[in-house]
């Protein structure tokens, strides 16, 4: 499996990363080296093997539906790069 620059650009767009023209060729080369190594997986015999998502067979724990956290709004909003009146500021999205 080899990626071309166009596919890499599409993937970058999905991942919300900006690759500039000068980087794109080098990034594509490195990704193809990685995928070349990853392609060894195609030799593994995996018919009838269940995918394993997690090392331990755990059930999702449940707890009582009670408030367990205190109000930390000011602490958390204080981390925002741009904030006004308790709201996060972003460029206009609705015209």
């Amino acid at each position: 499996m080899a990626l071309d620059r166009e596919t890499v650009a599409q993937v970058a767009q999905l991942a919300r990363l900006r690759l500039d023209e000068t980087e794109s060729a080098a990034v594509t080369d490195r990704l193809n080296e990685i995928l070349g190594m990853v392609d060894e997986l195609q030799q593994a015999e995996v018919a009838d093997v269940e995918p394993m998502a997690h090392p331990l067979e755990l059930a999702q724990p449940l707890r009582a539906d009670e408030v367990t956290e205190s109000d930390r709004r000011d602490d958390v909003m204080g981390l925002a790069p741009a904030e006004e009146g308790g709201c996060y500021l972003v460029p206009r999205v609705v015209e």
């Binding site: 991942a15 990685i34 997986l41 995918p51 394993m52 090392p55």
Partner: protein
């Protein structure tokens, strides 16, 4: 013996006997950091004032007869653990301006046990790397040879302990990030069973693989630290609700009757024969103490690196989607619109290796490749786990080299990701299976430390610590320190 060459156990005894106070001990390590770390770069943030205040509080607690198990002992936290009021950068420009509003469970537990935090250690960006060269804060230097890497991603923690800047440190291990730097710096590092230590407040890389653990000068010190770190945390849904075993009482247990498995896959044709010999020599020491050695095979281990480089980037691409330039972290200047804000904040905040892994992961999860790559890697993951399960029907522990080579020169692999990934060829399978494993120093090649790995069955940390401790009682590799200059 100099304070910075002593084990935690010995420092703890010194504090108990009143030979020195926690303030004196803390000042000693802060002074070492001040004089040596400008060159080593093992810390991102040093919290000197808070450390001295915590030391005074520990001394006061001891005077009141309220000393916890780590009372007054200084240690360093990898900068992946959230620390309230202290920058938590994860080695990234993305979080260079991030001050955590809360403590990770590991940090809170160790503080409650009386530990004194000296600062936050350098690391590969978002724990993605095997050399510490992907850190936004520059590479850490290996104290055994400052032109070489300390390994990664917990390279700052490993170098700080080896150089005597901290008696112990925390690390995290997603594919070898505790064990590989422990091996390259001549210290002992333990990756516990997946789920043994809480991940709450530990910046997520690959959530089904990430696990925190101790890095110190001996297995006995790791046992002391593990007991303080481990345990169920309702705040982490993958934290296992099961009591923490007593790891310290059994450290001296005889190895008579222990069965050690040596997998042929840990000794490939192209392995440096001197590395193989370090492991065989360590195993011979255990045989002298009554252990029995059997040859075993883990035939699907050969797929562990490719499976990991699908699963870990896939999980990372999802975890790192939270960094959007809106709520916290780096934000680009003058965004034109929301897409521009996302893309330039992310590409400006993340370094090259992190972006590569996000791209690989996004691709592996995308339509058309999900079955052929992501699901296939998860099927292979089960095969690898099953190989270990079969082996543990016959053996108590599995041993092999931690790394295929000793510390390599700075820059030697930084332009060649696939070559860099092979630095973890012996450690990754353990993370895929979720097993506990420890690396201990067991030799030196050309003046550089070499490590041996001891892998245990699920929740068998006490056993692998026992094996490593018995080995360390009979040998002195773990007592060797690099020459850091002639000061106190």
């Amino acid at each position: 013996m100099k304070l910075h060459e002593q084990s935690l156990a010995s420092l703890k005894a010194g504090l108990e006997q009143g030979d020195f106070s926690s303030r004196q001990l803390t000042q000693h390590f802060l002074e070492r950091i001040r004089s040596l770390d400008p060159r080593l770069n093992s810390f991102i943030t040093v919290t000197a004032d808070a450390a001295l205040a915590a030391a005074d509080a520990a001394d006061a607690a001891r005077a009141r007869g309220e000393a916890g198990p780590l009372c007054g002992l200084p240690l360093a936290h990898k900068d992946i653990f959230c620390t309230r009021g202290v920058r938590t950068s994860c080695g990234s420009r993305m979080l260079d301006n991030f001050t955590s509003p809360y403590d990770a469970t590991v940090v809170a537990r160790m503080a409650a046990a009386g530990a004194v935090m000296l600062g936050k250690t350098n690391m590969d960006e978002f724990a993605m790397g095997s050399s510490n060269e992907t850190s936004y804060y520059g590479p850490v230097r290996n104290p055994w040879d400052q032109d070489r890497v300390p390994g990664g991603s917990s390279g700052g923690s490993a170098a700080a302990v080896a150089a005597g800047l901290a008696p112990a440190a925390t690390g995290t291990d997603t594919g070898g990030s505790i064990r590989q730097p422990a091996a390259l710096n001549g210290i002992t590092g333990l990756k516990p069973t997946y789920g043994r230590v809480s991940r709450l407040g530990m910046v997520a890389f690959a959530s089904s693989l990430d696990q925190a653990g101790p890095m110190a000068r001996s297995a006995a010190d790791c046992a002391l630290l593990l007991e303080a770190m481990a345990g169920h945390d309702p705040g982490d849904s993958t934290s296992v609700d099961r009591p923490v075993d007593d790891c310290q009482t059994g450290l001296d247990r005889s190895l008579e009757g222990l069965t050690v498995g040596l997998p042929e896959e840990f000794f490939p044709q192209n392995l440096d024969p001197r590395i193989a010999e370090v492991t065989r020599e360590a195993v011979r020491e255990l045989e002298k103490q009554g252990a029995r050695v059997v040859d075993i095979s883990l035939p699907t281990m050969k797929y562990s690196v490719p499976a990991y480089y699908v699963i870990a980037p896939a999980e990372a691409s999802s975890n790192l989607a939270r960094f959007d330039g809106v709520r916290y972290g780096y934000r680009c200047e003058h965004p034109e619109n929301l897409t521009d804000l996302y893309e330039r904040s992310r590409s400006g905040g993340f370094g090259d290796e992190v972006q590569r892994r996000i791209l690989v992961g996004t691709w592996a999860l995308s339509h058309g490749y999900y079955d052929a790559y992501y699901l296939r890697a998860q099927r292979v993951r089960r095969l690898i786990r099953d190989d270990f399960a079969r082996a543990f029907e016959k053996v108590d522990v599995i041993m092999g080299p931690t790394t295929p080579e000793t510390a390599f020169p700075l820059g030697a692999k930084s332009g060649d990701p696939v070559n860099m990934y092979m630095a973890d060829v012996f450690t990754i399978a353990v993370n895929l299976a979720g097993l506990p494993a420890l690396s201990m120093p067991a030799g030196q090649l050309d003046g550089l430390p070499a490590g041996v790995q001891v892998i245990g069955n699920y929740f068998d940390e006490a056993r692998i610590l026992n094996v490593a401790h018995r080995y360390q009682q009979a040998t002195d590799w773990h007592r060797r320190s690099p020459d850091t200059g002639g000061e106190a």
